[in-house]
Symmetry: C2
Subunit: 363 residues, 2 copies
């Protein structure tokens, strides 16, 4: 199959850009002697996880237990579930997963849920690895003494092994400008590293501190005490991450956009063309629409669930019914989550079609 034959709307991956992004990230992280556990909530694709492992990653993060179950079933190991596993039913599933993939780590931020996890591990006859999720504005327990209390509960639980700290700072990743990001992540990661020291001073070895993001990885990689980075979006990039700003007013260009969505023009009226991609083809959580690839003379406006409206008033080449048009997605993760497969392109050749096997597995 070639690019022009892919049924639309469809998700495309430029493999040259993807490979370059993987090389760039692994180079920086390994140069600082840290591990890389890329976040698979971005791609939800076992083949991509396997490629990252072949490039040196120690495994994959997942946002939810349901994703981890899918990756484990596809022989991906080194899984870290970054949202707390809450409740008896999910704890039982986590214990079952630990039997299949014993190096899986789940996180907790609540002493009551630690007890739930311990009972589930006991019932399943497994040991379960549990890390403490640190709070930097969304989920987790506050660094310092509150985190120590949860770590002590894990360390004391007969069927749990304390795995370390999960220290993702969602605010740092999207703080605008390189210097502001450096200041933010240096501050919050300092708290994470201090918490690690506090735990070890209390006799709790802390083998892992997992942190970092596509926006802050360059700073995080150099912070002593963090053991691994968990960025996700760097493999794809999106309009959102391209706007976070680089050093001193420059653009953020550490990684190349590799992801696009291809559509077809299905109707034309005067200076408007309607393409076959709308709210079901692009995630809409950012305050800007999809951007046409290599067509600055065209712009996209939302036109409902199934359609987009292309303004051709400044078009240097007009679109006709049947023409194809590609876009950069405003936000990669939830856009990928709309599709069952991704078309991996080398130039215009479809080298492979990969299943987004963990799509929708948010449970």
């Amino acid at each position: 199959m070639i690019r022009a034959e892919i049924p639309t709307p469809a998700l495309l991956l430029d493999l040259d850009a993807f490979d370059a992004n993987v090389t760039a990230m692994t180079g920086v992280v390994s140069a600082h002697g840290k591990a890389l556990r890329p976040h698979a909530k971005t791609h939800k694709c076992p083949e991509i996880a396997r490629r990252l492992v072949r490039a040196g990653a120690v495994g994959a993060c997942t946002a939810k237990l349901g994703e981890a179950e899918v990756f484990a079933a596809h022989d991906v190991r080194g899984l870290l579930v970054t949202t707390a596993v809450v409740g008896e039913a999910k704890a039982a599933r986590a214990a079952t997963l630990a039997r299949l993939a014993p190096d899986t780590i789940v996180v907790a931020d609540d002493v009551g849920q630690v007890a739930v996890l311990d009972r589930a591990a006991k019932h399943a006859g497994v040991r379960l690895r549990v890390a403490v999720d640190l709070y930097f504005g969304r989920t987790g327990v506050a660094p310092g003494a509150p985190a120590l209390a949860v770590a002590q509960a894990i360390a004391a639980a007969p069927h749990l092994d304390f795995a370390g700290l999960q220290a993702y700072d969602a605010t740092a990743s999207h703080t605008f400008g390189a210097e502001a990001r450096r200041a933010r992540t240096t501050g919050t990661m300092g708290e994470a590293v201090a918490t690690r020291a506090l735990l070890e001073a209390h006799g709790i070895p802390c083998p892992m501190v997992s942190a970092g993001s596509t926006g802050s990885y360059g700073v995080d990689a150099a912070i002593d005490g963090l053991t691994e980075l968990q960025p996700g979006s760097f493999i794809f990039m999106d309009t959102d991450y391209l706007q976070i700003g680089g050093a001193a007013g420059a653009a953020y260009d550490d990684f190349r956009p590799s992801l696009s969505v291809v559509t077809t023009v299905v109707s034309v009226h005067g200076d408007e063309a309607i393409v076959d991609g709308g709210f079901k083809a692009f995630a809409t959580d950012r305050p800007y629409p999809p951007v046409p690839v290599d067509r600055p003379d065209l712009s996209y406006a939302w036109a409902g669930d199934e359609h987009g409206r292309i303004d051709m008033r400044r078009a240097t080449r007009r679109l006709a019914v049947g023409d194809r048009l590609e876009f950069r997605a405003p936000h990669c993760d939830p856009t990928v989550n709309l599709y069952d497969e991704i078309h991996a392109l080398r130039g215009d050749d479809v080298e492979a079609v990969w299943a987004i096997a963990a799509r929708g597995k948010s449970q």
Copy 2:
């Protein structure tokens, strides 16, 4: 399974409300002697399509060919694909579908694409039923003479049968207030009916004029010359449709909200609780967030791909880790499109779990 055991985030359907909505719509439409071909882009669920047919529907509309293929494979007949089928590859698929389900209707708004469809039908050795899509602001060809020209091309094509007119007015469906909606849909549907008369005056019988929506059905049902209605959202409702306004300042309450999303609290900090549903659990295309069901003391704010932030400052009952919270979705169709299954509840009992088999089949 009972409500409290459903893994979260998950999509729930209140069957009592759903059944009431189906009864209300079929009652109005049949009282006016019209057919009902509900739009399946809303639910993408073969079991729901079959239930609507058992309640009297003549089939199902789909937005895209890919959805129609799924419904046909699940033995749903009377399919109308409401977005133009464009290009050789999709025309070939439409012809293949017509062999399996000969009463399937596709639409066109372009004479060039009519020729493409005719060649595909010839190649497949089938007759293909094609309707003209009328333009009321998005896709389609303008009513009147332009539509006549496309209809004549279909009628003259050796392997196509002219099926009628598709006259959906996306603007009418969401015009605020019953009187404004009446004015809008009366005007545009008048153009559709006049186009039907024009075609018949030119010797082209026009057996179908398919139109209407959840917002405008009450007016459309009474318009002579429309033959069938194609509303979708009435089965579920959402915050969006609940805000379109009824008669003279009253709320729009023709249908009951039957759809919700259930989440679990995974982290609590002070007056904030974090639930496990974010951009991947709710469509975000409307300018308002999910609304907690029966908890006016709580409010939801987006907190990323996987999470939502609940403000408990006015809470009459505080949430704890592990508590469950249900929400009305801002917009039903693209929210349903995020899930692989829907849990059909009778009270708190899960009566069935239905596959959303056409989820993501936007191609």
